[in-house]
């Protein structure tokens, strides 16, 4: 498999064949990878990390890995590193976890820790005309994917120029002009040319 070392390949093979102690070895090597990915996801999204959330994400990820007789491991084709693959699964699980917990109202009660230090930076609620919001949403959807992506990354996701550049394969200097162009396009779609 592409980027897999023979050692990793052998471990996956043994896990899938359920050979003794393979799963134990897998856990001892990669549990920490999952924990870090879970921690990084929670940190990035919520701004703070609780150990039980990390545990929850890791456990759910492990469930996803063993599900359907290790289908997730069997289907790994080596297009990325194994650690990267496991991190990607963990990140997705972490995002789902946060969504679920938020739906349950959990986020309202979590200790705000770091966030409490920066109350002034909480977004200000701005009353907005729902029709205008809908128009904005429609305009956003009509934009070419790249323009939509850069606007979402910057405005919705709070990504910085460096992150946007890394993800979109742009130079740092190209990010600002791309953002300006995207904004011009959305203004045009809204009939608000300036």
């Amino acid at each position: 498999m592409g980027s897999l070392s023979p050692d990793e390949s052998d471990l996956l093979d043994r896990c899938v064949r359920r050979l003794p102690s393979a799963w134990e070895e897998f856990l001892s090597r990669y549990r920490i990878v999952l924990e870090r990915a879970a921690r990084a996801t929670l940190l990035r999204v919520v701004g703070s990390v609780r150990d039980d959330d990390v545990e929850a994400v890791v456990e759910t990820t492990l469930m996803a890995l063993v599900k359907d007789e290790f289908a997730a491991l069997k289907s790994f084709a080596g297009r990325s590193s194994l650690a990267g693959y496991l991190q990607a699964i963990t990140t997705k699980v972490g995002l789902n976890h946060l969504r679920t917990e938020r739906r349950k109202g959990w986020l309202r009660f979590r200790p705000l820790d770091a966030a409490a230090d920066a109350p002034a930076e909480e977004p200000t609620i701005i009353e907005e005309d729902p029709q205008r919001l809908a128009a904005l949403q429609r305009a956003l959807e009509q934009l070419p994917p790249r323009d939509r992506l850069i606007l979402k990354l910057f405005h919705l996701d709070g990504a910085g120029y460096k992150e946007i550049a890394a993800l979109m394969g742009l130079s740092m200097n190209a990010v600002s002009p791309a953002l300006i162009r995207a904004r011009q396009k959305i203004r045009a779609l809204l009939g608000e040319a300036r």
């Binding site: 134990e24 492990l62 991190q87 990607a88 995002l95 979402k152 993800l167 809204l190 608000e192």
Partner: protein, 492 residues
């Protein structure tokens, strides 16, 4: 819209995608929040080398939904507002400074340190029966469950025995009621009392009213409850004890003292319980969040989740091995509450058909009876699911206040299953003050008709008779003592 696999997201973050795939991913990410966020997280200053040094500008995305709407509105404002340079500063909806947890700086992922395995509780190994079943051609078909459950690894792989061990009888069906099936390889046959079970056999109890008791030669007994699938019952092997693989549902067990080093294991996709001798109940849910619940009536059981985290559960405690929670031992409630009517919120309970909620004596918010000729009545009913399903252990308890004119407090229970009414009452009453009362509902009988196991009670009339005008009730509950005892071996 199908999301790319995590492998593609990972390859994207690692810069391993070719141009076409990369373009396709970015186009997708423009419309898919999950993939965009995952890629952003994974490609941000590498998780692999996460430096948990406080970042100058860690941003928060919470709550996303609110932020999305908010930012859209802000974006809209910005479009109308100042020059572009200003926009980039003011439009942010996320705080720039969030202190990142400074503790536990993780090491690079590329060189993961093995987590220290617990010496006595090794991390799980997917289940595998000792030998292939003769009826199944595949050499290693052991784990039929969708989610392989963990099992501590044995010290060294044992060579495949020449003779299939599945021929060995390991237990017998002591009782089987309802739709109970023995699954042997691809064959499913109706279970009979006295039938031998071989290592590798499975058992299914279909429907809530079905159950079976499996008895082992060492007097260990396992009751398979209704709606339960036991994927495999495995016998002892060198270094391994008896094993019961529960796919879903609930089992109870009275486990006789097991040989040293060969604890009996109850396994599921969510974890395992290791038993040396005890009475316990295990409930396995298909939902990973609910997982596997272990209740221990007597003795000590070690419960391990899929990640190898363990907790020792002692007498009168329970613990859950599930995705999303560390297993922790908690005290079992003494009683199982079937019905609880409280009116602290001042609202009339939906089950209350006759009666009102008001302030009674001592200004206590309670349920007041409805005056009706010679007494005052309260009526509770649930025509849908019924008030409760009887097992013969139910107890009705409540606080009451009745005026001095009352002659008795009586109870009438409507048994929907037998279509009879069971009549009874308090042996003596106290008037003019709040008094607690409790009544075993099986003691409530009329002409020999009593509640039977499985009967559904759908209505209950409580009344103060003999000219009572004021009758108040509070804290009404129907509960049954919690027990994990297995049913008797012999039918009564």
């Amino acid at each position: 819209m199908t999301c790319p696999s995590p492998e593609v997201v990972a390859a994207m973050a690692e810069g391993r995608l070719n141009e076409a795939d990369r373009d396709a991913f970015l186009d997708h990410a423009a419309g898919c929040d999950d993939c965009r966020h995952a890629a952003l997280i994974l490609s941000a200053p590498k998780i692999a080398t996460v430096r948990v040094v406080p970042r100058a500008a860690t941003r928060r995305w919470v709550p996303w939904a609110a932020a999305a709407a908010l930012v859209l509105s802000m974006l809209g404002l910005l479009l109308l507002a100042t020059d572009p340079v200003e926009e980039t500063k003011t439009v942010r909806t996320v705080p720039k400074k969030v202190d990142v947890e400074p503790s536990k700086p993780p090491a690079p992922v590329e060189v993961p340190k093995p987590a220290p395995p617990k010496p006595q509780e090794p991390a799980p190994e997917p289940l595998k029966p000792p030998t292939p079943k003769p009826t199944e051609p595949a050499p290693e078909p052991p784990v039929k469950p969708e989610n392989p459950a963990p099992e501590p690894p044995k010290p060294a792989p044992t060579p495949e025995p020449a003779k299939p061990a599945t021929e060995v009888t390991i237990a017998a069906i002591q009782r089987a009621e309802g739709e109970v099936f023995v699954v042997r390889g691809a064959t499913r046959t109706a279970a009979k009392a006295g039938q031998d079970l071989r290592s590798g056999d499975g058992l299914e109890c279909r429907g809530a009213q079905s159950w079976a008791i499996v008895s082992y030669p060492d007097r260990t007994r396992v009751e398979i409850e209704g709606n339960t699938v036991v994927r495999e019952l495995l016998g002892r092997q060198p270094g391994k004890g008896l094993r019961v693989v529960v796919e879903k549902g609930a089992v109870k067990a009275e486990v006789a003292k097991q040989p040293a080093g060969q604890p009996m294991l109850f396994l599921s996709a969510h974890g395992q319980a290791q038993v040396l001798g005890t009475t316990l109940r295990i409930v396995v849910d298909g939902d990973p969040k609910k997982g596997m619940r272990l209740e221990v009536e007597e003795g000590k059981v070690e419960l391990a989740n899929l990640g190898g985290r363990t907790v020792v559960v002692e007498t009168g405690h329970f613990a859950v091995a599930a995705a999303g929670a560390l297993p922790a031992s908690r005290k079992l409630a003494k009683d199982e509450v079937l019905l609880s009517l409280t009116v602290e919120d001042g609202k009339k309970p939906s089950l209350l058909g006759k009666g009102t909620v008001e302030r009674g004596p001592d200004r206590r918010l309670c349920i007041a009876g409805e005056a009706d000729g010679g007494g005052s009545r309260l009526f509770f009913s649930d025509e849908g699911d019924g008030l409760f399903i009887a097992t013969g252990e139910e107890v009705l308890s409540f606080d009451y206040w009745v005026d001095a004119q009352a002659g008795a407090v009586s109870l009438s229970l409507w048994n929907r299953t037998q279509r009879v009414s069971h009549e009874g009452g308090l042996p003596k009453i106290v008037t003019g003050k709040w008094t607690h009362a409790s009544l075993r509902l099986t003691d409530v009988s009329e002409q020999g008709f009593r509640l039977k196991d499985g009967d559904i009670a759908s209505g209950m009339l409580l009344q103060a008779t003999g000219g009572a005008k004021k009758f108040y009730v509070d804290n009404l509950t129907i509960s049954r003592p919690r027990t994990i005892k297995i049913r008797p071996s012999e039918a009564k």
